[in-house]
Symmetry: C2
Subunit: 265 residues, 2 copies
């Protein structure tokens, strides 16, 4: 998503040329290029697929809507397996129109997870619950903290349900370090993503995730927190940024790789 202006083949080509060893994919561009074709492309290129984004959106109320959401998540699990990644990232959904009830929405998520886990187990896929920044609680994700995400994950085996730690969403939270320690000790950190916090936020608050080093986050400190739990894995950089999307995708990928080297290590 950081370089959504690149087609899947262009992305894979750029990763290979820039020695980026692993990539997180999103469902829409994968579908556009074709699932099997994408799987073959990344496999032939020797790229690791770190995760597939995204399932989720499990807060709806009507039975038809809920059945559609579950079917879509099962399809996403299948797609993750086909792409050779073990991780499907879940963005869980906001409040239905007119709803005032965060607690009930979170309860519907818990119910839906129980229905999805058996299918994930069959496919060898783990679900990574991503808490989103509280500014998205109404319209995108009623799960706003790592503590809440862990509470949803804990009824299930760590190999099936864990959390996605995205610095953009949790950096403000003084309880995040303790939650990371707890998640890591339990083997529940299934994804670790980076974006910087820059202001002012753009209208809609969605597409202002800063390039690493442009904002207020200390990525070495966040990496140290995660790796102190024994976690070792590929770290993703996930930027939604109108400015970056307007530029040449290969140049943005090269810049991101350079910032990753200088800001994270």
């Amino acid at each position: 998503m950081t370089v959504r202006q690149l087609s899947v083949p262009a992305l894979v080509d750029a990763c290979v040329r820039l020695a980026v060893p692993a990539v997180g994919l999103w469902r829409e561009p994968v579908a556009e290029h074709g699932l099997a074709a994408t799987a073959k492309l990344v496999r032939d290129a020797g790229l690791t697929v770190t995760s597939l984004c995204r399932g989720g959106f499990l807060t709806g109320t009507g039975s038809a809507e809920r059945a559609r959401a579950l079917a879509d998540n099962r399809a996403a699990i299948d797609e993750a397996a086909a792409l050779g990644t073990d991780t499907l990232v879940l963005v869980l959904g906001g409040l239905p129109a007119g709803s005032h009830d965060l607690v009930a929405a979170r309860a519907r998520i818990a119910e839906a997870l129980a229905l999805l886990v058996p299918h994930a187990a069959e496919r060898g896929v783990r679900l990574a619950i991503e808490p989103l920044h509280p500014m998205y609680a109404a319209d995108r994700c009623v799960v706003s903290t790592l503590d809440q995400a862990l509470a949803l994950a804990e009824p299930f085996p760590p190999a099936r349900v864990g959390v996605a730690v995205d610095t953009y969403h949790v950096w403000w939270d003084d309880r995040a370090p303790a939650a990371i320690a707890r998640a890591g000790a339990a083997g529940r950190i299934h994804s670790f993503q980076l974006a910087d916090w820059t202001t002012p936020l753009p209208a809609g608050a969605l597409t202002g995730r800063g390039q690493l080093g442009d904002g207020h986050l200390d990525f070495r400190a966040w990496r140290a927190l995660v790796e102190a739990t024994g976690w070792r894995g590929h770290i993703e950089v996930e930027l939604f940024n109108d400015g970056l999307w307007a530029r040449d995708g290969v140049a943005v990928l090269a810049e991101t790789a350079s910032r990753f080297a200088s800001e994270v290590f």
Copy 2:
């Protein structure tokens, strides 16, 4: 601030005509009309001044900057006393340019509070620490939760330092109800403010606070939480909203009073 388009005399006149018994004031319009003149105006009108907004901005680093901030807060305390309110609301400030350190910024606030409390005690004013929504953590307020605000307040007597509970800032937080119970039991709820959460957020994320009833918040439930602690006081409606500011101020005040009656009680 809900009707910032009204001058202080127009505001006081509208409150009287609409039977709004109490009003929270901001320093800038008070200064514009004159402190003594405003104090006389509200007193003669029989209006209660619920609070003065705002002191704070205590996260700066240089000694000159910190001395200026402390002097400004002492002046704000004096202004609150002159206006006949016992409550100064504090918005504590964001990260200095280039800073990555929320923890150090919060520590500077704690130090500054210790320097301000004696002056507040002399004037009979209490300081209300307002946690702001986490989307403002970088640029406006590094204190993002009621738990954090309470931790800053607790070293001081409840009659001197407490918290401001603003639904807009805390509604997403599953720990807010427990924090309200704790704050109320300790006599530390010094201000209770309402605004609704509506989406999409405008650019800058500052001026999209919704009119009561337009968004996702259940104000009866929030009032019940606060009043369950034994708290009784005037409830403020504080809306920063470009749409409301563009309308006739008296009409907005009348609408707000009507929504207050229908949504909160």
